[in-house]
């Protein structure tokens, strides 16, 4: 029934540009580990995939609630700490920690979202900022549990799961890339389900959505939980890939960085998040920036993009292509 509605009501064209981009990325993602590229490039690609999961999750929350959350860095930390603590204290393997981290981060997102999604705009941003700060304070000061500033070291690699082995960086790239593709695919499916349609209604006009029978609080909290699960998955991968977690990796500052990545790429497009992540991860490496220089560069890039292309790089590129096409048509 739903499919009939979509096909009759939609006037969207097939997004060939996006499809082509994704196919190229998929081909590249699986090809890179097989080639003789440097370990540094493989490492950057793994980081792009992990951050990609985070930023796509964050973008999904924006789609649902029209809200940006600073707490996403903290939810990422919940996934990472859940994984580290369960591995070190209970001897759980990565394969059990991964879904557990997703569920834990989703539950925290639900607990945060239920009261906070009732407020909007700056208020929501402040609530999520406070959540991130509280969590960092707990992680820093509850030394008996989290080891405080020293952090936790995971010295083991995940055991093989059937044909999946995560012993090398190249293995991690294939796995994290597959996880990112799966994550993007799941979000694409969710958007086409009744739940996704309701979210689009909430984003467009929440008052009317309520009058049309949409339980807006439930759907927004559910979207926040899904977004949190993505952060949890990224956290689990981070903990095992980096072998180390500490509170400062997941503070409110990291949450703001994720927002910047989303805004730089473009908040309204499917390609935007990954483009934002690639810019934020690769450019500093390309120029050999230190951590402090990196922060400055990200800030400068953000200001430049807000001034020159306020809807992000991808929307700017789409408009540019559209304009060039119009010029070509006129010349013909």
């Amino acid at each position: 029934m739903s499919e009939i509605v979509v096909s009759q009501g939609s006037s969207r064209r097939i997004p060939w540009l996006s499809i082509g981009f994704y196919l190229a990325i998929v081909a590249l993602g699986f090809a890179v580990p097989q080639t003789l590229v440097s370990a540094r490039i493989v490492h950057l690609c793994v980081l792009i995939c992990i951050y990609g999961l985070l930023v796509y999750g964050l973008g999904f929350l924006y789609e649902a609630a029209g809200q940006l959350s600073v707490a996403h860095g903290a939810l990422w930390g919940i996934g990472a700490y859940t994984t580290a603590l369960l591995t070190l204290n209970a001897g759980w393997t990565f394969w059990i920690c991964l879904p557990t981290a997703m569920v834990t981060a989703a539950l925290f997102a639900g607990l945060l979202g239920y009261p906070s999604l009732r407020v909007k705009g700056h208020y929501f941003l402040i609530v999520t900022f406070a959540f991130a700060e509280i969590l960092q304070t707990i992680n820093t000061n509850w030394r008996g549990f989290t080891n405080g500033d020293t952090g936790l070291v995971i010295a083991v690699a995940p055991p093989p799961l059937g044909p999946i082995s995560l012993q090398s960086r190249a293995d991690w790239l294939v796995f994290s890339f597959a996880l990112l593709v799966l994550g993007i695919g799941v979000l694409a499916i969710l958007r086409r389900l009744p739940f996704g349609r309701r979210l689009s209604a909430i984003r467009e006009n929440e008052t009317l959505a309520r009058a049309a029978g949409v339980n807006t609080v439930r759907d927004k909290v559910l979207a926040f939980m899904i977004s949190g699960a993505y952060a949890g998955a990224a956290g689990a991968c981070w903990a095992y890939y980096q072998h180390y977690v500490n509170p400062h990796q997941f503070d409110s500052h990291s949450g703001i960085e994720l927002i910047l990545m989303l805004l730089i790429g473009g908040i309204k497009t499917t390609l935007g998040p990954i483009v934002g992540v690639i810019v934020a991860i690769c450019l500093p490496d390309l120029f050999g920036f230190s951590a402090a220089q990196n922060e400055i560069a990200l800030g400068v890039a953000f200001i430049a993009i807000i001034l020159l292309m306020p809807e992000g790089i991808v929307t700017f590129a789409q408009k540019l292509i559209h304009r060039l096409r119009l010029i070509n048509v006129r010349e013909l």
Partner: protein, 236 residues
């Protein structure tokens, strides 16, 4: 038989009563118009019945159940739908997708109704258009179409005729009568007396949150209190 019964319904904002001890009974399958000057509490009354506001006191009984303070989405499932004073839509979605939203929200609705609703509201020719591109009159009809897609028993129309030209207002009057003839109950607010009086089975006049008058259109235009407070002597 009474579908909606309001008993001593009161809504106060910081001590000021926007709706003040209102008693009202809406019969099944009738068009009841609520008129009154600005600030008389009409839209607050709609917000109370549709769950967008919680009553300070009193009861709202719908189909035998007390519904005061229930959430809007629950009231939609009970069969109460509303439109808004401003023409509202989901602007970036197509007209078809707009009308489909209640279907995604509630098991009460089905996709088979959508074409029929679009046709009834005169929107079938623009079903693939983005809602924000519609002219004003069609945007108002789209609001009604979205409400109808929830399959309501009680339809609350907030100033449906506002800003419409003569032809569009005539079409809208015919549509509201059709809805009543289909068995729906319509509660409508409007300032345009030439629009309201011919279609309303009964009219209630509100003033300062209270009921000033209740009766037929013919009785209304002859009532000296209504003429004094609302219509003015020129109207009579």
């Amino acid at each position: 038989m009474s579908l909606l019964q309001l008993t001593n319904l009161t809504k106060r904002f910081r001590g000021i009563a926007a709706v003040d001890g209102l008693e009202l009974s809406v019969k099944e399958n009738e068009i009841l118009a609520i008129v009154g000057p600005n600030g008389s509490g009409k839209t607050t009354l709609f917000n109370l019945i549709s769950g967008f506001l919680k009553p300070s006191a009193g009861e709202i009984i719908f189909d035998g159940a007390q519904i005061g303070g229930e959430r809007p989405d629950r009231l939609v499932r009970r069969g109460i739908a509303r439109t808004f004073q401003q023409a509202m839509s989901f602007p970036q979605l197509t007209v078809y997708e707009n009308v489909a939203i209640p279907m995604y929200a509630s098991e009460r609705s089905s996709s088979t109704d959508i074409d029929r609703i679009l046709s009834k509201c005169g929107l079938q020719g623009v079903s693939r258009h983005q809602a924000s591109t519609l002219p004003y009159g069609k945007q108002r009809k789209l609001g009604i179409a979205i409400a109808l897609a929830t399959r309501p028993r009680l339809l609350l129309l907030d100033e449906p005729g506002a800003g419409l030209g003569d032809d569009a207002a005539t079409e809208l009057s015919a549509l509201i009568r059709d809805l009543r003839d289909e068995g729906r109950t319509v509660l409508l607010i409007d300032h345009e007396m030439p629009f309201v009086l011919p279609i309303a089975d009964r009219v209630v006049v509100m003033e300062s949150g209270r009921k000033l008058f209740e009766g037929t259109s013919d009785d209304l235009v002859a009532d000296p209190r209504v003429i004094e407070v609302y219509l003015g002597h020129d109207f009579a």
